[in-house]
Symmetry: C2
Subunit: 110 residues, 2 copies
């Protein structure tokens, strides 16, 4: 029985940048498909749909359908998804510091 790497385990569940950005948004509260489509800049309906399905399958988020016309679907965090908040927060902190202190002020290109 092989020992598993926790970091690799985490990366298996959030394996692309779209999922991180989706998580970033839903951490602020439940979101609808259309909202995410606009908020996650550059994502296509297909990619959004696909990633939402995978995240639901992995137990990271819940999908709630409101029986209305026109259709209304809301995505919210499961407890497992909520537990990822520290990961996203650490990335947010790092990114903020990078944008403020590094980009352009040091010799690092961009």
């Amino acid at each position: 029985m092989k020992k598993q790497c926790p970091v690799a385990t985490t990366m298996n569940l959030i394996d692309n940048k779209w999922k991180i950005l989706i998580l970033r948004d839903i951490l602020k509260g439940p979101k609808r498909f259309g909202f995410l489509k606009k908020s996650v800049v550059g994502i296509s309906s297909k990619m959004l749909s696909q990633n939402l399905h995978e995240m639901e399958r992995d137990g990271i988020l819940n999908r709630k359908v409101f029986p209305e016309v026109p259709p209304h679907v809301e995505y919210s965090l499961s407890p497992l998804g909520e537990s990822m908040r520290p990961i996203i927060r650490s990335m947010e902190k790092w990114g903020n510091n990078y944008l403020e202190n590094v980009k352009g002020k040091q010799q690092i290109k961009f």
Copy 2:
């Protein structure tokens, strides 16, 4: 002038799972090419070389060549790379918790 998303900024610098795993290893101390090749399970020389170059270009890590025969190259963290430690640690924590408490014990598949 558009406001930039810190999370997306972070993801632009560590945009694939290889970089995360490389970072995980070098956070424990300077590492050589061959060590990383074995430690980052599944990575090819090409991918390893490519990612190391990108991370060096982005200012995340330093490359030090020892003028010896046979060649000896060591990769270590720059201050910028070191500042990513909280990100990796949060992933490590999450992954550990997931492996211990979630996988197999709840209804979440795997």
